[in-house]
């Protein structure tokens, strides 16, 4: 009897194991090549995202203590510099206010449709892509905050990327410096249009015709085409322009407006209906 039991026990184990492996394989095969998260992926993001948020908060509090102390060394010099800068910006601000007032008056005169800026949401980066191949980050805002796939992510300096996947409390963002990212951009001065693609730590501006005038130092902003990014967000500055003999387009390198190595807090530009609801 005992021998018989011993013979059947491994068989049931093997069957259970085979069932589990089959389930896993179905899960892997069914999602292979997709970009959308399914429930297990969202669950994993929720669990490990919580751990990441914990580690990040501990790290940032350590950093705050350290930088709070170190910053005191040069505080007087820094204060003088900031005072000067403040005076300069105050003067610029007065000019902008004046321009804004003129713009509003003209808009009223032209009876333009009222255009409100889209609502925004701040988020903190809690994790970065551990691999050498991709440029993605995890943020502490998710579907429960109204974040949706495709929403643009920016900082005060410029474009950062766009939301790729969401879980209830966390989201994955594809950075603009990833080769898979593509943003419609235009040269602010000449209005020449192109597609910005990531290339490690710089961008490449593709599909700009050779007859378009682009020089190093030109500012690149979002064109608003495609409906993902609002128009006029800074992307970067042209650093190199090459015109090869062959081909129709120029080879343009762009320095990102955002320093991707020092990102901490981000702004998500919500779609008009997400926050309003």
């Amino acid at each position: 009897m005992r021998r018989k039991g011993k013979r059947y026990q491994p068989l049931s184990k093997i069957l259970l194991l085979g069932f589990c492996i089959a389930l896993f394989m179905i899960l892997v095969v069914s999602t292979a090549g997709n970009k959308e998260f399914n429930s297990p992926h969202k669950f994993v993001l929720e669990i490990i995202g919580t751990a990441q948020a914990g580690v990040t908060s501990v790290l940032s509090s350590c950093k705050n203590v350290w930088y709070g102390y170190v910053a005191l060394w040069d505080v007087r010099k820094e204060n003088n510099r900031l005072q000067k800068e403040l005076q300069e910006y105050k003067a610029i601000n007065i000019k902008y206010r004046e321009a804004m007032a003129v713009s509003v008056r003209l808009e009223k005169l032209l009876e333009m449709k009222e255009s409100l800026p889209p609502p925004t949401l701040t988020a903190q980066i809690i994790g970065k892509d551990p691999s050498q191949w991709f440029r993605t980050i995890i943020i502490d805002r998710g579907a429960s905050d109204g974040v949706e796939k495709g929403m643009p992510v920016v900082t005060a300096a410029g474009v950062v990327g766009q939301v790729m996947n969401t879980a209830p409390h966390y989201s994955k963002v594809l950075l603009a410096n990833d080769p898979s990212s593509a943003i419609d951009g235009l040269v602010q001065e000449t209005r020449a249009q192109g597609i910005i693609k990531g290339k490690d730590n710089i961008y490449k501006l593709h599909y700009v015709f050779k007859n378009s005038e682009v020089i190093p130092g030109d500012q690149i902003v979002t064109s608003g085409l495609g409906g993902v990014f609002p128009k006029g967000l800074p992307i970067g500055t042209v650093s190199k322009v090459e015109n090869n003999r062959r081909g129709m387009f120029q080879q343009i390198e762009v320095l990102p407006a955002v320093n991707f190595t020092q990102l901490e807090y981000l702004i998500i530009i919500m779609k008009s209906n997400s926050l309003a609801e």
């Binding site: 194991l17 589990c20 492996i21 896993f24 899960l27 892997v28 095969v29 999602t31 292979a32 090549g33 997709n34 970009k35 959308e36 998260f37 297990p40 992926h41 994993v44 993001l45 669990i47 490990i48 751990a51 990441q52 580690v55 990040t56 790290l59 809690i126 994790g127 970065k128 892509d129 551990p130 691999s131 050498q132 191949w133 991709f134 440029r135 993605t136 995890i138 790729m164 994955k172 594809l174 990833d178 080769p179 898979s180 593509a182 693609k197 290339k199 490690d200 190595t261």
Partner: protein
């Protein structure tokens, strides 16, 4: 028990890699401890236990890295079975062979993921390929291979002994005290 322990260890290492280690300057490289764990699992664990673990690690990596799902589980499983096949014919489990094994495995996985991500993307976008970073990462992994293999080995044996003791305590004793 072993699978659960090593799964938790893997998630802990991934959490470290995505948070703490990202503050290390890029010119210093990143210690990919999860990758060393994957090679360790491929060598030390039973085939089915190891395969499940590697598949789980891959699925977690899919969530935190990359664009296309299924890329990491596929690449890691391929590496896992390759190591299993090679370890049957060669003595790669020896301590002295661990650094070259980890380095070679990393080069293999680097090439595999690059290849498949280009295929999945229909060659639409370029690939982040840096020889300098690749060699630096390989060197760091080779350097960390021996200490971390020992560490993982220690955990592996501890869990194994604990499980064995637990089983022997739970096993019903026969009436005859002379038969163990």
């Amino acid at each position: 028990m072993q699978i659960a322990c090593f799964f938790l260890l893997g998630t802990f290492l991934l959490t470290l890699q995505t948070t703490l280690f990202t503050s290390i300057p890029s010119w210093m490289g990143t210690p990919e401890l999860l990758f060393i764990l994957i090679v360790f699992v491929a060598i030390r664990m039973k085939t089915y236990e190891g395969a499940i673990l590697v598949l789980l690690y891959g699925m977690i990596m899919d969530v935190f890295s990359g664009l296309y799902l299924g890329l990491y589980p596929g690449a890691y499983l391929l590496l896992f079975f390759l190591i299993r096949v090679v370890s049957k014919h060669l003595l790669i489990t020896e301590t002295t062979h661990q650094p070259p094994l980890v380095a070679t495995s990393y080069l293999f996985i680097y090439a595999t993921i690059s290849f498949f991500s280009v295929i999945l993307d229909n060659n639409q976008s370029g690939l982040i390929w840096s020889w300098w970073k690749l060699l630096l990462q390989t060197f760091i992994l080779a350097l960390l291979a021996i200490p971390f293999f020992h560490l993982y080995d220690l955990l592996f044996n501890t869990v194994k002994n604990f499980t064995r003791k637990k089983h022997s305590l739970l096993r019903p004793k026969s009436g005859n005290r002379f038969i163990t």
